[in-house]
Amino acid sequence: MNIAVGGDPVVETSTDDLLRLEAVDKRFAGTHALRSIHLDFRQGEVHAIVGENGAGKSTLIKILTGAYVRTGGRILWKGREVALTTPKEAHALGIHAVHQEMMLCPHLTVAANLFLGEEKTSNGFMRSSEMSRAAQRAIDDLGFDLDARSLLSSLSIGRQQLVAAARAALHGSSLIIFDEPTAYLTRGETDQLFALIRRLKASGVTVVYISHRMEEIFELGDRVSVLRDGNLVSTRNICDTNPAQLVTDMVARPVGDAHHKEAIEIGEPLLSVEGLSGQGFHDISLSVRRGEIVGLFGLIGSGRSEFARALFGRTRVSAGTINKSGAPLDARNEADAIRAGIALIPESRRHEGLCMGLDVRSNLSLANLPQLTRFGFIDSSQERRDAADWIKTLRIVTATDRIPVGHLSGGNQQKVLIGKWLYHGADLYIFDEPTVGVDVATKAEIYRTIAGLLRQGAGVIVISSYLPEVYDLADTLHVFRRGTIVTTHRFKAASQDEILANAIGT
């Protein structure tokens, strides 16, 4: 196995565009994820793509790799129009992606992973030692410090990422997408990866490089495109731009979309946290007052969600104190936290928030069963009336309350999830990414619901990796990076550029 470059022998075409997107569009029920994207990827360039979470980067990757089917526009591969609607077709063209989440088999060896699906056999038997030797040669050739015989799961996440990169490089790719490849890499591993990327580029492979890290983009990239709210904002040559300009492109927003914060009086302290540490976060001190929205902003993995989980009793804290309404709180489990008046609206509706197979009514009452139960039996007529009330109050669009909640749209699911906690009642609400996968109209309703809670004297923590959201909502905004709070801003006391720079760490 040698490094195959560019799939087939390079055919000179009139244009050096390898892949060209024309007016590519993607809509999901309720959201418009990509809006008429025009983008070209040239042969042998490193093309960086930046944008905030939710800007459409993941959707773009999934369209390029055939995981999603676009809802509009044309895709040209070497000047010819292609369908590009299945992962198989993407592979056949030579498009590969190295994802944030591993797409390899952790229980197999490095060699087995490199040859996965293309095992060398004779008479039906695998030629393991031959594959092992070939894999080792290829790895040495790439300059990676890896043993082909080691189990993938015995390697660090960073080294596993290198194996994934090697696999893409060895499979005769002509376009390789790296999605946040250095998130888990050490400096040494990053250098090895960068050497590989330069080498791929030199041999004519096109690299699409997605990262939050400005220094990497300026170190590796030839051109950079900025996505924002599903639109392509700009494509520039790296040598003609600077990080500040890119950040401005990333956060500038259309005026009509601005959210008007209601003026609500801030009251007495509700929650104070001192020096809290635990799995994934350390030394967090903050307070929440009645009527106040405290925003926690940070990139994925910066510790904000981990902190919220510990606050809710989901994981144990190793140090620090929590004071709730003047009394110390030691939540050993979720039930303790709920009794203390805390409600968590988690990030993943599908896995943590709702029971998708159960109906709307059951999901609404799930946290509130003790109040609905007499001698162990659920008062089902009361449950039905209450469900009807919440469906009406929150304007949940559903034919009846007996429909499995998994059949509703994302926005309506989110309303059911919020309704579950409003129904139960609490005085501290933690919203983790409250508007992910939610359409604009529902978003506004959710913000109004939050304002209603504040007026009733509740305190709210909003966690988001989408800056405009917390920027417009939070009275106090804490920026998380690497497990701790790096800066704290009062409402709109800093510019979005500054806050984003805090979170990225440039």
């Binding site: 197979g357 059951s362 799930l366």
Partner: protein, 321 residues
């Protein structure tokens, strides 16, 4: 968001009802066919016999369904039937009064179930593995206690129970009612039942709603094992002996009854009515094959194929969503 389509108007609950109705009609067709093609099927004797056989399978199938709704499985119920028939027989032979012997056997069942819950939640052993282990342990323990032989000479007051009837209905079938009604109420009308469905649908969402997932899992395995122990006691009464291997293969029968009755091995779907219909369908196939002089080995093949057909239709319904 646009108007809700007709497709989603048909909720899971209605489809479950539809499945039960289909099963009911299928059962009716089988009964009609057998009544017309044999002159032995539609006799008081055979029908009573059919109900007695169904009764035993129904009781363990109901327990199995409760476990399956949480997304688990209990492979130990067959072995538990044999083991508990041995325990109750040994105690009766040793002179313990019937209520004491029966009570102790049921308590032993509950303890085994709690142990399964402990192993699953605290030790992190998957349900399949821990109950497979108990299948082996309980069968071995039963054989060890009896030296592999049967225990006979049980008191007549004990053995007459399963042959008797009350208000014209066989006692064994009364036992089904005694089990089915409370479990139906538990699953559909209590908070505990709602917790069982929630844990099967999404343990994490249940947890974050303040539900005690550990307690729910302990409970369902305790229910399943206790009902298996009850079935063991009833079996000992019915065949007048204690025998360690008497429930061999019943775990598969109970899973089959549960699944044919509409329970999903992925959790959160299933019910008491379906389990009863499933048990009845399996027993009817069994009974009918005997009456029609079909080679009994065919019964197992037919049961297996029926499971494939029913679960395939269930899968179709799911993926079409």
């Amino acid at each position: 968001m646009s108007a809700i389509s007709l497709e989603s108007r048909r909720s899971l609950f209605n489809t479950a009802m539809l499945l039960n109705l289909t099963l009911f009609l299928l059962l009716g067709a089988m009964w009609l066919g057998l009544a017309l093609s044999t002159d032995t099927f539609w006799t008081a004797n055979n029908i009573t016999n059919l109900f007695r056989q169904t009764a035993l399978l129904s009781v363990i199938a109901i327990g199995q369904t409760v476990v399956i709704i949480t997304g688990g499985i209990d492979l130990s119920v067959g072995a538990m039937v044999g083991f508990s028939s041995v325990i109750v027989s040994l105690m009766l032979k040793a002179g313990y009064p019937i209520p004491v012997a029966v009570g102790a056997t049921l308590a032993l069942g509950a303890i085994v179930g709690l142990y399964h819950g402990f192993a699953i939640r605290r030790l992190g052993i998957p349900p399949f593995i821990i109950t497979l282990s108990s299948l082996s342990v309980l069968t071995g323990a039963g054989l060890l206690l009896t030296g592999g032989s049967t225990i006979s000479g049980l008191p007549p007051e004990f053995t007459s129970f399963s042959r008797g009837s009350f208000a014209g209905v066989p006692n064994l079938f009364w036992m089904v009612i005694v089990v089915a009604v409370p479990i139906y109420l538990l699953l559909n009308h209590t908070a505990v039942g709602r917790h069982i469905f929630a844990v099967g649908s999404s343990p994490e969402a249940a947890r974050l709603s303040g539900i005690n997932v550990d307690r729910t899992v302990y409970l369902v395995y305790a229910i399943s094992s206790t009902l298996a122990a009850l079935t063991g006691v009833l079996t000992a009464s019915r065949i007048s002996i204690g025998l360690a291997t008497t429930g061999m293969g019943w775990e598969l029968q109970s899973i089959a009854a549960s699944v044919i009755g509409g329970a999903s091995l992925f959790g959160a779907i299933g019910g008491v009515a379906g389990s009863l219909l499933g048990a009845m369908a399996l027993t009817t196939i069994n009974n009918g094959a005997n009456l029609l002089n079909v080679n009994p080995f065919w019964q197992q093949i037919i049961t297996g194929l029926l499971i494939v057909v029913i679960v395939y239709f269930d899968q179709l319904r799911r993926t079409r969503r």
